[in-house]
């Protein structure tokens, strides 16, 4: 047998095996290190701080958990959120994340490592990303072989699509959820392969953990049944499937119902009905198998036909009946918007207003996955070549996740793991083929040679176990391993390899072709690493609580207006002073300023949010009673017009109007906020309603003064503002941050003389009131 390059022949198989597994362990730990390290940009560039919005709530909840213990956390009623409705936090939160941090915190303290809870929260996501890399390795190993697994682990470790939600400080549910997702899938595949109730149970346990951690668990709830269903439909029903699915479903569903927030949803909402249906179907099919083994085939045919029709009809009627009676909740709006991207915009402005829920733009696929997005289809096609049960899983996962990622930006996160897995399979196949030192025996009959594609494809099964741990070690490892190809076959996924024997008919001749392809691939990988590092550093490591801008000379300037304003609130206002802001800032105000808020990022009460929207979009006179009714003492607005911060409230203003219009269509109309020509403007041509709205007034109050009589310019909207700014009668400016990003207004008390504040102000400015006349009461002059 000829080889393309010399391979050592005097190594015993056990040495090779040990060396390979050592190399894999080293590679995995290096991958973990890289995964953690690349997520620390945020800490290095800024500081150890919680990012964005939702993490602030998680952090606050975790502090309660760490300080008061689990039961107090479970019973925690937060009177400062959703003032005055309050929030039953224990029953409206996925506690997995906080519980995880709490456990880590307690363990560290038990071994006398007094780590601050904040640092645990900040570093939790990077830590779990290492675990994600490991579980992806395990998952891919089941698909192909450990070399593909290592590639997949490396990919998921640094893919920006996952990093975007798991940088240090991004203390969100997704941080641990992706690990749980991949590990549950791994256990499912393992259970399915072995027909093991043990792995089925482990899958159920991790499924429970996932349910406790992230609302996205519904993805697993539907992926596994879908896989099982497809297997049944393809006639691949087996006892292994029955055992795996039944143990997973029964234990997993019972366990998931223990999470207070989920409660009876697994048996009462439509999202979970698929899993229940497949569970029932499997019982029927298993029963059918049992019957078939006892009766003759002709009778069975008849029985089958009748029973399928009857059961199908019964099931459909039962489902329709229960849904109609309200026993099964109809699909939620967020779910509808998965199928019809225009749905949310039409019916639920509150969902559409979240930028995460917008459809994904095409460039972001490349931004988040780079060349993986091109290798991904190849990997999926390679799965078709072999099409074992587990490959079907990857195919279904790929199809579903691709669709969802296209619909909603945030679901890019669920697509990333399968892209990593599929691309790793493709790339590993490619490398296997081209690094494999075995040269095919030249055949006389040329007609037998086939197309290049099939060469690449068949090689996956033909090549005797070429190992490609990672990047630079590929060649060495492959060379070492290859010699004892048959010896390693025990942990090679492609078991057919042994059949091929020593006569190799297909392969690559010579070193030159190999070199070109291998170097090209290594180049791709290297650029991928560069891209990931760049994207992580530039795009995904900004805490969004602290902003950074760079001067013309490249020096970094930190804009810290948010914290400045929140700490002002904390230091200068009464502890029970209610702060109103748009809901984006609710969690941050609660977390950093520790003040009650009207609405926050947990958007469960549309009317309450619409109330705030109405107050913001009404004139002062109309807003004031709303403010007083809700005991609002301060209003916080975000204004980016001075330094060009585009995520400010004026840009979000139309959403406030739309959400308010959804509840009070008679009082708030979106069209009133546009100019006659249908433009959204803030300058002289802005509509009267726009100019009188509280939001406009609060944003531009005294803005003109800043330009010393000159024409003020809004740098976000690039419009020149009127020279005379708006005036406020019912509010007092309380605080404006350094760069004017955060402006805080105090709501005035009612006038002690019972006048409306507008005329009270006019009087104190010295304006004379019109002479009054006695009100006509039309009563007799003589009583």
């Amino acid at each position: 047998m000829s080889t393309a390059y010399a391979v050592p022949t005097d190594l015993p198989p056990s040495t090779v095996k040990n060396a390979a597994s050592l190399l894999r362990i080293v590679a995995l730990s290096l991958i973990s290190g890289a995964a953690i390290a690349s997520r620390l940009f945020a800490v290095i560039n800024f500081e150890s701080i919680i990012h964005e919005f939702d993490p602030w709530f998680n952090y606050r909840a975790t502090r309660v958990l760490a300080a008061k213990g689990f039961y107090e956390f479970w019973n925690w009623f937060d009177p400062t959120a959703w003032y005055p409705l309050g929030r039953v936090v224990g029953g409206t939160v996925y506690p997995g994340l906080m519980a995880t941090s709490g456990v880590i915190y307690n363990i560290l303290h038990a071994i006398n490592l007094p780590v601050d809870i904040r640092n645990i929260c900040v570093l939790l996501a990077p830590g779990f990303s290492a675990l994600t890399a490991w579980s992806t390795y395990m998952f891919t190993k089941e698909m192909k072989d450990p070399s593909a697994g290592l590639l997949a682990a490396a990919f998921i470790g640094i893919a920006p699509g996952y990093i975007s939600r798991s940088v240090a400080g991004s203390y969100d549910n997704e941080a641990i959820a992706i690990f749980l997702l991949m590990f549950t899938f791994y256990c499912w595949i393992k259970a399915l392969k072995q027909g093991s109730a043990l792995f089925g149970t482990i899958a159920a346990v991790f499924y429970f953990y996932m349910v406790a951690a992230w609302g996205g668990y519904v993805f697993i709830t539907n992926m596994i049944p879908l896989h099982a269903l497809v297997l049944v439909l393809m006639g691949r029903f087996s006892d292994r499937l029955y055992v795996a699915y039944s143990s997973w479903y029964a234990i997993g569903t019972l366990a998931s119902m223990q999470v207070p927030f989920v409660g009876f949803q697994p048996v009462s909402t439509s999202e979970h009905m698929g899993a229940l249906g497949v569970f029932g179907l499997l019982q029927i099919v298993a029963f059918g198998q049992l019957v078939r083994s006892h009766v003759s085939s002709q009778q069975f045919q008849k029985l089958l036909q009748v029973s399928v029709v009857v059961i199908g009809l019964l099931g459909a009627f039962a489902f329709a009946f229960l849904t109609y009676n309200g026993k099964i909740a109809p699909w939620t709006g967020r779910f509808y918007s998965l199928w019809d991207t225009g749905y949310a915009k039409k019916y639920i402005p509150i969902i559409a207003s979240v930028s995460e829920h917008q459809p994904t733009a095409w460039p972001s696929f490349f931004m988040d996955l780079q060349f993986l997005i091109f290798a991904f289809p190849a990997g999926v096609i390679l799965c078709f070549r072999e099409l074992r049960d587990e490959h079907l899983f990857v195919i279904i996962y790929a199809v579903m996740a691709s669709y969802f990622a296209g619909v909603m930006v945030r679901l890019m996160l669920t697509l990333t793991p399968v892209v990593c897995v599929a691309s790793a399979i493709a790339l590993s196949n490619l490398l296997d083929t081209y690094i494999d030192p075995t040269e095919p025996t030249p055949v006389e009959d040329d007609t037998k040679s086939e197309s290049e594609a099939s060469t690449v494809g068949t090689n996956g099964s033909n090549a005797p176990a070429a190992q490609a741990p990672s990047g630079k070690k590929i060649k060495k490892a492959a060379a070492a391993v290859n010699v004892s190809g048959s010896a390693l076959s025990d942990f090679v996924a492609a078991t057919k390899a042994t059949e091929s024997g020593s006569k190799v008919k297909k392969g690559i001749f010579g070193l030159d072709v190999r070199a070109v392809v291998v170097f090209n691939t290594i180049g791709l990988l290297a650029f991928f690493v560069l891209h990931c590092t760049w994207t992580t550093a530039m795009a995904y490591s900004s805490p969004s609580v602290v902003l950074a801008s760079s001067g013309p000379d490249g020096s970094q300037h930190i804009i810290d207006d948010f914290r400045e304003a929140y700490y002002w609130l904390r230091q200068n206002t009464a502890e029970d002073a209610v702060v109103m802001s748009w809901w984006d800032y609710g969690y941050q105000i609660a977390g950093m300023a520790d003040r009650p808020t009207l609405v926050d990022n947990n958007t469960w009460n549309n009317t309450h949010i619409a109330t705030v929207g109405k107050a913001m979009s009404s004139s002062e006179e109309n807003a004031y009673p709303i403010l007083r009714k809700h005991d609002v003492e301060y209003i916080l607005v975000i204004f980016g017009g001075l330094i060009g911060y585009s995520g400010d409230d004026i840009n979000k203003f139309l959403w406030m109007v739309r959400i308010a219009q959804g509840v009070w269509p008679d009082e708030i109309q979106e069209s009133n906020y546009f100019t006659n020509t249908g433009e959204y403007r803030v300058d002289d041509r802005a509509s009267k309603t726009m100019k009188e709205s509280l939001m406009y007034k609060m944003s531009y109050y005294r803005f003109a003064d800043l330009f010393g009589g000159g024409q003020g310019t809004d740098r976000v909207r690039q419009q020149s503002l009127p020279k005379v700014g708006p005036t406020l009668d019912y509010l007092d400016e309380a605080f404006t941050s350094e760069n004017w990003i955060v402006r805080i207004y105090q709501v005035k008390k009612e006038d002690p003389l019972g006048r409306d504040l507008k005329s009270a102000n006019a009087f104190s400015e010295g304006k004379k009131r019109k002479r009054g006349k006695p009100t006509s009461r039309r009563r007799a002059l003589v009583q």
Binding site: P84, V88, L753, G754, R769, G772
Partner: protein, 449 residues
């Protein structure tokens, strides 16, 4: 003479430290033209007897200031210079309003002339007639001019005039219509036969004409007030007097032209007005409020839904006789609200017999979690507005606060128990059936066929 008077003032002032009757302080600034000061000597002496320290200041004098360093210098201010058009620069309508914000009580005089105070009156919801239109009444027939009117206060007029006497109160000056400001406290209304008009030009025909127009813009009848109080949301009291002569020595000493020997009611009236305005009478306060579960005494930050709650309020009334706050149980219409955005519960808060000053209510917390407030809001004309708001959270039951076993859940218990038993039996039979392995073999073989 003058130093002696000062000495007397000082002596009275020192004495007043122990005997002033007001609940908010005893220093009074009287803004009056020096020439008119002696016209009100009975009024002033009466106040001194009550224990007030009077300080006088001409309307154009610069000192003493009303407000110094944002602090009011006097607890009460009386402006009797009702004809003055130009005051010193610190006495402006705006500064008088800021005085009320600082809880200073005011007695302000109006006249038929247009003064800065006239424009201030309209801020308080009073609608003054055009300048130069005093109140006129030709009834009852009397010797006095038609602009000097004896007014007998009606029983229903106001709680302010407690010491009821039926002696007529002599009044001359300008009336004012009352706007719809709920903070106004009418003290003395004009007689039904009276009207505001120019003294000479008011021919009866013109009056009939304007009455025919529907009374609009027509100042007449008992809808007009002549002395009207006002209580701000901050608790300061302001009294508008249509003509300051009502406090003058002349009117106090005046006797009815028809019935000789009948003393005028002005002295008593002046006393009542001062007592009300300077927070002597009708002054209430909430000493403290308590809330707790029934049968416990400890207040809690949060209650569970459907808890039986008890709320207590302790209310005192100021007794000017001994300057003490005394428990007051006479309120009959006190209410308690348990509010989250809207009142979820509104119940009467009756006085507890046996414990003076204590008002108590028992109720069941609503089946709704949220941040609730115990609100007591008592606003009655003339009385101090009582307001108390206590915030508590009402939370759902704790995880172990629900009933443990439900009779309705018996099907589920039965299901769980039967499954457990079945599993146990199944396991037992399975293990026991192991010996029949040989019996199973043929079955399996047939299956393969």
């Amino acid at each position: 003479m003058f130093p002696l008077k000062k000495l007397i003032i000082l002596a009275v002032g020192l004495f007043g430290l122990t005997s002033a009757k007001s609940s908010t302080g005893n220093s009074v600034l009287v803004v009056v033209e020096a020439a008119q000061k002696d016209d009100f000597s009975i009024f002033f002496d009466g106040m001194r007897d009550q224990g007030y320290e009077l300080t006088f200041r001409g309307p154009k004098e610069e000192a003493p200031l009303l407000i110094e360093y944002d602090e009011p210098k006097f607890a009460h201010v009386i402006v009797l210079a009702s004809d003055t058009k130009n005051f010193a620069k610190d006495i402006t309508p705006q500064s008088l309003i800021s005085l009320t914000h600082l809880k200073t009580n005011l007695i302000l005089g109006l006249s038929t002339k247009q003064t800065p105070l006239t424009s201030l009156a309209s801020e308080f919801g009073l609608i003054p007639p055009p300048p130069g239109t005093p109140l006129i009444s030709y009834f009852p027939k009397r010797e006095e001019p038609s602009t000097l009117i004896p007014i007998t206060p009606k029983v229903q007029d106001s709680a302010v005039l407690q010491s009821r006497n039926n002696h007529p109160i002599w009044f001359s000056g300008s009336p004012h219509a009352l706007g719809n400001n709920p903070l106004l406290v009418p003290i003395l209304r004009a007689p039904v036969e009276s009207f505001a008009s120019e003294v000479d030009g008011g021919s009866p025909d013109a009056i009939v004409d304007s009455a025919d127009k529907g009374g609009e813009g027509f100042w007449a009848g008992s809808q007009l007030g002549v002395v009207t109080g006002f209580q701000t949301l901050d608790g300061a009291r302001v009294t508008w007097v249509g003509g300051v002569d009502v406090f003058s020595d002349e009117y106090i000493q005046k006797q009815s032209s028809k019935r000789r020997g009948v003393q005028s009611g002005n002295r008593q009236f002046a006393h009542d007005v001062v007592a009300w305005t300077f927070q002597e009478s009708l002054v209430l306060r909430i000493d403290k409020v308590e809330h707790h579960r029934v049968n416990t005494t400890e207040p809690r930050d949060q209650y569970t839904i459907k808890d039986q709650l008890e709320f207590n309020a302790y209310i005192s009334k100021f007794n000017p006789k001994n300057r003490k706050w005394e428990p007051f149980s006479a309120l009959k219409d006190l209410q308690l609200e348990f509010t989250m955005l809207d009142p979820h519960i509104r119940t009467s808060l009756p006085a507890v017999s046996g414990t003076p000053g204590k008002y108590s209510a028992n109720f069941r917390a609503p089946d709704r979690h949220g941040v609730f407030k115990f609100v007591v809001d008592y606003k009655r004309k003339g009385w101090t507005a009582l307001h108390s708001s206590t915030t508590v959270a009402v939370v759902p039951p704790r995880h172990d606060g629900y009933p443990r076993f439900l009779s309705a859940a018996w099907p589920y218990y039965a299901g769980a128990i039967s499954t457990s038993v079945g599993f146990f039996l199944f396991s037992a039979f399975w293990l026991a059936g192991e010996v029949r392995e040989s019996w199973k073999r043929p079955g399996k073989a047939s299956k393969i066929e």
